[in-house]
């Protein structure tokens, strides 16, 4: 054992407590084997693969537009992120210019999705903590964001807003919609501030989340953690800062130093006002003009890839184009790179805190079930 009570050498473990694949604290099917001694977790193993759907395989050979819309089905929480990144790959490969108005609306959608994803995280975390009331309150606030997403995209999940060269005509923002988004952001900002104040001033909640599931900066880097999980350890990395789409927007990258559950929650709570700030900037400076560029030609292209920062971290999409059809698809979601951090974070803590330590990394195992590489079909 080292000074952090983590297992550093292989040792004999007395008991194993398997949890999952169906478990009340897990909103998705995954399996965790906790190796415990006197209810303290000494080692952990997370297994995914229960929900594998082979989306990449289905995408192979499909026309690029269809393949793009299929990526949206990968995740119910960050569906916009997947289709956006997939569309970006095609636009990058074909050199398509996207109208500025469409870029701004895409940003609004992405940030609204980040809001609802972070709030879902807070609600799920509260449920795992056993604090249903906080979960209910946060779901109540999240409802506003879900309705805004429905207003723009027509659905509460899988909105299908980005298309190659712009956005769907249905997602155009008129004055009424812009006003509704403004009102919604005011409401969310006010309520989330109240929630955050209540949350951090609750001594019982703080005693459950402080100093639990600690992930140090160097461990987080070694284990390839990404997104808010990495930022909660003090690493100042947010891909949005480097994405050309976000060049015109001002926002702060939120980091915390402790790397525990509290730090993870705080990073996401504090990212919510930053997302609201970006949405307000996008609305205030929304350019006039068309929303779709239809003057492009399909060409063959070698494998092209693209990274974007989604609510859980870095999302990677790559594929090549052959006669208008996609080939060699690879998709990597942020949760797969966070699995090492999840396993490590629950070691050394009470078994009741293990799920909390896993949940602090905001896992999305259903989208993670795709770690396959198709070399050539």
């Amino acid at each position: 054992m080292d000074e952090d009570n983590k297992v550093t050498k292989k040792q004999v473990i007395e008991t194993e407590v398997p949890l999952g694949t169906v478990h009340s604290a897990a909103i998705e099917p995954y399996r965790v084997r906790l190796f415990v001694e006197d209810e303290i977790v000494k080692d952990a193993e997370i297994t995914v693969g229960v929900n594998h759907r082979g989306v990449e395989r289905i995408m192979e050979g499909l026309p690029v537009e269809k393949a793009n819309s299929l990526t949206e089905k990968i995740c119910g929480i960050c569906s916009n992120s997947h289709i956006w990144n997939s569309v970006l790959v095609a636009e990058k490969a074909l050199g398509i210019e996207v109208p500025e108005r469409a870029l701004y609306i895409r940003i609004i959608m992405e940030e609204l999705e980040r809001l609802h994803s972070h709030m879902l995280y807070l609600a799920h975390g509260s449920e795992v903590l056993g604090h249903e009331t906080f979960a209910m309150r946060i779901f109540y606030i999240r409802e506003t964001v879900m309705e805004l997403l429905r207003m723009i995209g027509g659905n509460r999940v899988q909105y299908g807003v980005p298309i190659i060269g712009g956005i769907r005509p249905r997602a155009e923002l008129d004055l009424m919609r812009i006003q509704k988004i403004k009102d919604g952001m005011d409401f969310v900002e006010e309520k989330i501030t109240e929630f955050a104040e209540r949350f951090v001033s609750d001594p019982m909640v703080m005693s459950r989340i402080t100093g639990v599931g600690i992930l140090k900066k160097e461990d987080a880097i070694r284990l390839s953690a990404t997104g808010p999980t990495l930022r909660a350890t003090g690493v100042d990395i947010d891909l949005r800062r480097d994405m050309p789409e976000y060049e015109s927007f001002e926002f702060n990258v939120i980091t915390q130093d402790d790397g525990d559950v509290k730090a993870n929650i705080l990073v996401r709570v504090l990212e919510i006002p930053e997302s609201i700030k970006i949405i307000r900037q996008a609305i205030d400076h929304l350019p006039e003009g068309k929303i779709t560029n239809r003057s492009w030609d399909m060409e063959d292209s070698p494998v092209t890839n693209n990274y974007i920062e989604v609510p859980r971290g870095k999302l990677y999409h790559s594929y090549s184009l052959d006669d208008g059809r996609v080939r060699n698809v690879i998709i990597r979601t942020p949760s797969i790179t966070n699995i090492g951090a999840m396993e490590y974070a629950c070691i050394g803590y009470h078994i009741t805190d293990a799920q909390l330590a896993i949940v602090q990394c905001d896992p999305c195992f259903t989208c993670t079930d795709r770690a396959i590489k198709i070399i050539q079909i």
């Binding site: 007395e14 407590v17 005693s207 078994i351």
Partner: protein
């Protein structure tokens, strides 16, 4: 005691028990409804958790539990219910003639058995949730192959054991406060003392004792934040995981009844009002039960689940308050 008196006493005991069952059937519904309103949602119909759900379970097919001794496992909730009924009976004034059986010692003993039952339940249950998956766990180069598997119920059984060791301190200390004040272990003497000197609750020791009793009440009921036997994050339903059909109904009925019984014990020991259907004071028993249910619902709604890290200091702190109450009772 004449035959007529015995008959009246018998009718009173049976009547009180029936009333207790009737009231307790509504308590889980009231608790859930109260929690729901705090959480700004509608919640279940008030009769569902305590009446309709058990009724439904009585008509379901009995599924044999995954247990090394399924018969014993299934009979444990019935034993628990009998113990809970006995707990109520020993506080009834008609049975004070049984002397030692209606003492605080008997009360504590029965409460201990009630706690031990959870330990047995946990160790006799082996649900499918903790089964091994040979392919990913052993074949595919898994970590630590061949490690002894522990069922989640076994985990909650160990927790029940710890609760027996220290978790129930508060309620026993609170009960002992009344003994220290009345200077008798007999419930009849404690009630008589309060009829002369007024309720123990209205003294410093009584107030401190009542606070400690309430914490003990919540621990015994495994209610949030003390629900370590039934933590959703790991052991889920814990010892009760494998109960199905009518046996689950017994579990539900027992819990509702235990709320009423513990509140009645409080009324008896701290207010001097034992449950007796022949007296209007039974209304006070019912009122205390409702107040306890609502306070419990409020506390649990605003609390996360504790782990032992929070549990140990809290129990130690509350027990210290209980000891202060005992010291205050001698002053």
């Amino acid at each position: 005691m004449s035959i007529a008196d015995s008959l009246i006493a018998f009718i009173a005991v049976i009547g009180t028990l029936i009333l207790a069952f009737f009231v307790s059937a509504w308590l889980p519904g009231i608790e859930r409804r109260f929690q729901a309103r705090i959480q700004q949602r509608i919640g279940p119909p008030i009769s569902t958790p305590g009446i309709m759900a058990p009724l439904k379970f009585f008509f379901k097919e009995v599924i044999n539990p995954n247990s090394p001794m399924p018969g014993l496992y299934n009979v444990l909730p019935i034993i628990g219910l009998i113990i809970t009924i006995s707990l109520l009976m020993i506080t009834m004034p008609q049975l004070y003639v049984l002397a030692a059986f209606t003492s605080v010692i008997a009360l504590v003993g029965l409460l201990k058995v009630e706690e031990i039952i959870y330990m047995f339940m946990g160790s006799l249950s082996q649900s499918v949730l903790s089964l091994k998956m040979p392919f990913p766990d052993i074949v595919k180069g898994a970590k630590h192959p061949g490690v002894r598997r522990s069922f989640v119920e076994e985990l909650s059984s160990m927790r029940a054991f710890r609760l027996i060791a220290f978790g129930s301190f508060p309620i026993y200390i609170a009960i002992f406060v009344t003994v220290a004040i009345a200077k008798s272990i007999y419930i009849s003497d404690i009630v008589s003392y309060q009829q002369i000197h007024g309720p123990i609750l209205f003294s410093l020791a009584g107030i401190l004792g009542a606070i400690v009793f309430f914490i003990g009440f919540m621990i015994l009921l495994n209610e949030y934040p003390f629900a370590i036997l039934k933590t959703k994050a790991d052991v889920i339903e814990g010892p009760l995981l494998e109960y199905a059909a009518k046996y689950r109904a017994y579990v539900y009925i027992s819990r509702g009844f235990l709320i009423f019984v513990l509140a009645s014990i409080f009324s008896t020991l701290f207010l001097g009002i034992p449950p007796n259907i022949l007296s209007w004071t039974i209304l006070i028993n019912i009122a205390v039960t409702l107040v306890f249910t609502m306070i419990m619902a409020t506390v649990s709604t605003f609390s996360p689940i504790f782990t032992f890290k929070q549990f140990y200091p809290l129990v130690a702190g509350v027990s210290m308050i209980g000891i202060l109450a005992i010291i205050a009772s001698f002053l």
